[in-house]
């Protein structure tokens, strides 16, 4: 099952849920109507035996239905608003603290390393990492409603009591939540549950107000039947709300448990190491605190956790499958014994695993066959992680330190844009200087000196690694960065492919404060066929050296497309411009998940038809997949890197 299939199924499952919820909501509406109808009958003192015949009073029904639906809708909207808080607010609300990217604490360092490896391996930017220092239990959660705002938080127990492998298992599980978009699904479910909850709240308010008016002696003469009717409606609303919430919670908990099992499975797939994740779960079982949290607001975020964060009175309501069942799923040999776990922190392994494992410079080859690449989108396996580890090991220590500090990371990202030719580079540095920040220009020149020692294929990983530091820029600083990026990119009066990709990545992951894309033309103006032709042609031209190989690569791409649509045509090189690409890609991004999967498969086929991936192809592919909204694992390793960099450039 590939990423798009999973996205498609998740969508279908959500549709199915929507049906279940619609049933729950209509049931609620009918029940409320019945309660109100019976109440009216009592107030009007009509005989009840006439009720079955006169039950339907359509005017009353529409009023009741509209009011009930409005209440549920407002309740849901309210919850959505309160849940829209940023990832870091949720972590901070639970007593969390952002792990500084420069941290010297060995446990925190290890956690950041594990997260960075996972991010590089999955082709996603590094999320913000928080620690919940007051929590001794082992737990973790991931949050990500927007690509520019995703985060992972772990408890102190998780940070200190797990070995590296176990920690990696937990982080992989959380990454799977991020890649599957589970936070968003969870948020929708919680909002709906809350909408139904409001009905019960109104009922209990009615009951309480009647109780209150009875206590105060100033009660007006109201007929006894009037009071009992209101009492009846209030009690019914309370019961209807409670029953509705009960069922809605059951549905939500069932979905949540399923997503957890899926995340466990993908976590194992990412690391190819079921013992790691199973070990972490066993430690939860053996620890006195288990996975419990002490923060008072834990209930609000319970559905985001790695393991059950709060106590439940019934299994049916829990958001996570039973611990033993999860362990058994990962470890068939498991007999149910959970050795007790002490509170002393584990020693951090001094020797990094990849330093021993990966011989310098020789990354393990990852096949560049389209079908396999497509299957790897949105998930990863041990090969990608091994590749990410060896890539990180090959980065000079100075670069690894530089990406963690906003001030230096900014210069480093700008230095990525510098041309390798010295005269162009001088022009570009002059452009930075003209922005009026002499220190920045100096810093960029220094960063460039370090970068020149790094191989070209590390440019995108360095960019990904810098994102957490860059997210900490203030809006004003972010706009300064945008201006400098523009100045550098335009200095040589042509926009190169890498410059375009870098802008795409920054725009998507730094959010609105970095600025939106300049809209040259609306994406609606271009037809789907034309857009697809343009994207594929650009990919083909960026890798091909002559017309023959371009045509071969293009037909290889067309083979993967389903035949029901008109075939795209290979556009000549002159017609391919990055400005046109921008429009074309945003047109393609507006299509259904499965079609996007097909498009990306064609793109991969176009790139991989000759069995090797050039740097230009790899970067353009990243820009396309970035704009299509799917995380793309690095495609460069092990493939011969041809150095026809920037061959697809536009005037």
């Amino acid at each position: 099952m590939d990423f798009f299939e999973a996205e498609h199924r998740a969508k279908r499952r959500t549709d199915w849920l929507a049906v279940l919820f619609a049933l729950a909501v209509s049931g609620t509406v009918l029940a409320v109507y019945a309660a109100v109808r019976v109440g009216c009958q009592a107030v009007l003192k009509r005989p009840f035996d006439a009720l079955p015949a006169e039950f339907w009073n359509f005017e009353l029904f529409w009023r009741v239905a509209a009011t009930t639906l409005a209440v549920i809708l407002i309740g849901s909207l309210y919850k959505t608003w309160t849940l829209r808080a940023s990832a870091s607010s949720i972590a901070v609300g639970l007593g969390g603290r952002l792990v500084d990217s420069n941290t010297r604490d060995p446990h925190e360092r290890r956690l950041l390393n594990v997260v960075e490896e996972m991010a590089i391996a999955s082709g996603t930017p590094v999320p913000a990492v928080h620690v919940l220092p007051g929590e001794a239990g082992i737990n973790a959660f991931a949050m990500g409603l927007r690509p520019s705002d995703s985060g992972i938080a772990v408890t102190d127990g998780c940070l200190k009591l797990l070995t590296r492998d176990e920690l990696q298992g937990v982080v992989a599980h959380e990454f799977s939540h991020l890649l599957n978009g589970d936070s968003r699904l969870n948020m929708r479910l919680m909002a709906l549950v809350h909408g139904i909850l409001v009905i019960g709240l109104i009922g209990s308010t009615i009951l309480r107000s009647i109780g209150g008016s009875r206590d105060s002696g100033t009660r007006r003469k109201v007929s006894l039947s009037g009071i009992s009717a209101v009492l009846f409606v209030g009690a019914s609303l309370y019961i209807i709300g409670s029953v509705g919430v009960f069922f809605a919670r059951l549905i939500k908990a069932a979905v949540s448990r399923q997503r957890e099992l899926l995340a466990d499975a993908s976590g194992v797939q990412f690391t190819r190491n079921p013992e790691g994740l199973a070990g972490a779960l066993k430690k939860i079982g053996g620890l006195d605190q288990g996975s419990k949290l002490v923060a008072p607001r834990a209930e609000e975020a319970s559905h985001f956790f790695f393991a059950e964060g709060i106590g439940r009175w019934t299994q049916l309501m829990s958001t996570h499958p039973p611990l033993l069942e999860r362990i058994r799923e990962l470890d068939p040999q498991f007999r149910g014994e959970l050795p007790p776990v002490g509170m002393e922190p584990v020693a951090v392994e001094q020797k990094l695993p990849y330093a021993a494992m990966a011989p310098a410079g020789a990354a393990r080859a990852i096949p560049a066959r389209p079908r396999e690449v497509l299957a790897s989108i949105g998930k990863l396996d041990d090969q990608h992680i091994a590749y990410a580890q060896s890539l990180l090991a090959r980065l000079p220590q100075r670069v690894r330190e530089a990406v963690r500090e906003p001030w230096v990371a900014r210069a480093l990202v700008l230095a990525l844009l510098l041309d390798r030719r010295s005269e162009t580079r001088a022009l570009q540095l002059k452009a930075v200087l003209s922005l009026g920040d002499a220190q920045l220009a100096d810093q960029v020149a220094r960063a460039a000196a370090i970068l020149d020692t790094c191989p070209l294929e590390t440019r995108l990983p360095i960019l990904d690694l810098s994102l957490p530091a860059l997210r900490r820029l203030s809006p004003a600083q972010s706009q300064g960065l945008r201006a400098a990026v523009d100045a550098l990119a335009r200095a040589d009066s042509r926009l190169s492919l890498f410059e375009y990709t870098l802008e795409c990545v920054l725009r998507r992951h730094l959010g609105v404060q970095f600025g939106t894309a300049p809209r040259a033309a609306s994406s609606a103006d271009v037809s789907f066929d034309r857009a697809l032709s343009l994207v594929l042609s650009m990919l083909v031209h960026s890798g091909a050296t002559d017309a023959g190989s371009a045509a071969r690569a293009f037909s290889a791409a067309c083979v993967t497309l389903s035949t029901s649509r008109p075939r795209p045509r290979l556009l000549p090189r002159q017609e391919c411009s990055l400005g046109g690409l921008e429009v074309a890609v945003s047109r393609l991004a507006a299509t259904a998940p499965r079609l996007r999967g097909e498009i990306l498969a064609a793109c991969v086929a176009a790139v991989a038809s000759d069995g090797k991936v050039t740097i230009a192809e790899g970067e353009l592919l990243r820009a396309v997949s970035e704009s299509l909204g799917c995380p793309m694992p690095p495609l460069l390793p092990g493939q011969q890197l041809a150095a026809n960099e920037d061959s697809a450039s536009a005037a």
């Binding site: 309210y78 608003w81 309160t82 607010s89 952002l98 820029l473 203030s474 809006p475």
Partner: protein
């Protein structure tokens, strides 16, 4: 009917209040995070200074007073920073920190001015490395301070602007203090040049 309108209006007001409250919490977190960013760099700087003084001691034998002043100023700034980190944005703590930092900057400046007269010290590699790192840390502090001030300004504007200002009272949203540098001279990071 009128009841319905009143109810709808009440619900809308509550929705707005929640949104405004959330926004304030978010802005407050943001400036606190920005302060922790400064804090990390300040700590690194306070770690560097004793090493620097230790290295300089061997050469500046007759300038003990100056060196001691640096160490003393460093200790004071360090404890002021600890207090400020406990309550980022707190006006009193921030004023103390800014004051202590100004004193430390002055003391360091005097030490480097003295060092100009000692060519041996100027060519010492350890000294050069340390002062290079100090300069770079100063720059990072300046940059982080800029981010902090931006975040504080957004937060302060947010808590004073109309609908949110009603809520700011009961959520302990006190006004945060900027890290302002009064005199133009101090805007420049300490110049350390031995080249």
């Amino acid at each position: 009917m009128i009841g319905g309108i009143v109810l709808a209006a009440a619900v809308l007001v509550i929705l707005f209040a929640v949104a405004a409250y959330n926004r304030l919490v978010d802005l407050r977190n943001r400036y606190k995070n920005a302060f922790s960013q400064i804090d990390v760099q300040l700590k690194r700087r306070y770690d560097l200074i004793p090493n620097l003084v230790e290295t300089a001691k061997g050469y500046l034998k007759h300038e003990r007073q100056t060196l001691e002043a640096v160490i003393q100023a460093r200790n004071q700034a360090s404890s002021a920073a600890q207090r400020a980190a406990a309550k980022p944005g707190d006006p009193a703590a921030m004023r103390d920190l800014v004051g202590a930092e100004t004193v430390l900057g002055g003391a360091l400046g005097r030490m480097f001015a003295l060092a100009e007269a000692y060519p041996d010290l100027k060519s010492n590699t350890t000294m050069n490395q340390l002062s290079e790192e100090l300069t770079s840390t100063e720059n990072k502090v300046a940059f982080a301070r800029q981010a902090y001030n931006d975040a504080v300004t957004t937060y302060n504007t947010g808590r004073e602007s109309f609908p949110a200002s009603l809520i700011a009272g009961w959520g302990s949203f006190i006004e945060a203090r900027l890290w302002e540098i009064e005199r133009a001279v101090e805007r420049e990071p300490v110049k350390v040049s031995f080249a």
